[in-house]
């Protein structure tokens, strides 16, 4: 059995997640679009993005941003971290040539009535200090070394 990387009891409100920085290229955007089966041209055709969408280049699509936020969270939680809910709001696009910076802060911790340990995290994806996307996630973490949030099913899982 894999030992948990992080227990819910070790996390406190206000704790900061390690920052993640990543240089975006056209390949990042196109690979992300194809991996999410998003064939729309603004994610691979610069001429279309510029002249039809009015953006300066192709840009990261929504499902791939979700995947980036999930990666950012589980880099921190380890494999025991089980994502329950994520909300994100896009304020600007992420283009090739941008350096994405992910930051996060624990908003609150709680244990629900079924004993599941939860951590709420506020995250920001920024480029050059400008917020591009904000996200709020609720992720379940083990409350002890023998707890496993993934074992919760049906009514025992309340995301």
């Amino acid at each position: 059995m894999v030992e948990p990387t992080l227990l819910q009891t070790e996390v406190t409100a206000g704790a900061l997640l390690p920052e993640l920085s990543y240089d975006v290229t056209a390949t990042t955007v196109v690979l992300g679009a194809l991996a999410t089966r998003d064939w729309r041209p603004m994610h691979h055709d610069k001429d279309f993005a510029v002249n039809r969408n009015g953006t300066r280049d192709i840009f990261l699509n929504t499902p791939n941003q979700a995947a980036w936020f999930e990666r950012y969270l589980t880099d921190w939680t380890g494999p025991h971290g089980r994502l329950g809910r994520i909300t994100f709001k896009m304020k600007g696009s992420v283009f090739p040539g941008d350096t994405m910076v992910f930051t996060g802060e624990v908003a609150e911790t709680a244990v629900d009535e079924l004993g599941c340990g939860w951590v709420a995290v506020d995250m920001v994806l920024s480029v050059d200090g400008e917020t591009k996307t904000t996200a709020h996630a609720r992720v379940a973490l083990p409350t002890s070394t023998d707890d496993n949030p993934w074992s919760r099913q049906a009514d025992a899982w309340r995301p």
Partner: protein
Amino acid sequence: MSSSLTPLPDVLVDALAANDQDPLRAAQSMLDVKQYETAGEFPVEMGYVWSSLSSTENGNPLYWDDEVASGLTAGPIAPPSMISVWFRPHNWAPGRTAVALPLQVHFDLKTLFGLPEAIMTDNTIVFHEPVRPGDVLTTYQRLTSISEPKTTKLGTGRFWVIEVVYENQRGDLVGVESYTGFGYKREEA
């Protein structure tokens, strides 16, 4: 999102006819109506899982190490955030005469209101039962709100919220996704 308009489905043609050709009333008549029930075009498979993980350089051992997956999730699963991937249609398939679009309600609204451009502004996903290789998921869409006309830096249009509900072949709820879209016309220069 897309900047082309697709033909209106019969249900919206009928809704327009029943509402004196008023697009707002026609859209409001579709609130909370279950639409576009469909099954995924292929079973969930790890090839796409690894492509997605590769695109974000995600090394979570839950998805790469069978022993970890066996210990934590009783076998391999797909990352929760991939839930919409399993419904995105092939860009082409035999017999298909037009490009199939995911989130068709969104494109219907663009056409209904004559808004050639659109973006997604907010996205909420709630995850339930894990998705596993071999699962064939089903889904439906429903419109849950539509705004009055708004003007943003992109142009003038309307915001709308669409929910997408996902279930597996056993009828288990696997997720609910909520999208806020903004359909608009660009301001003339």
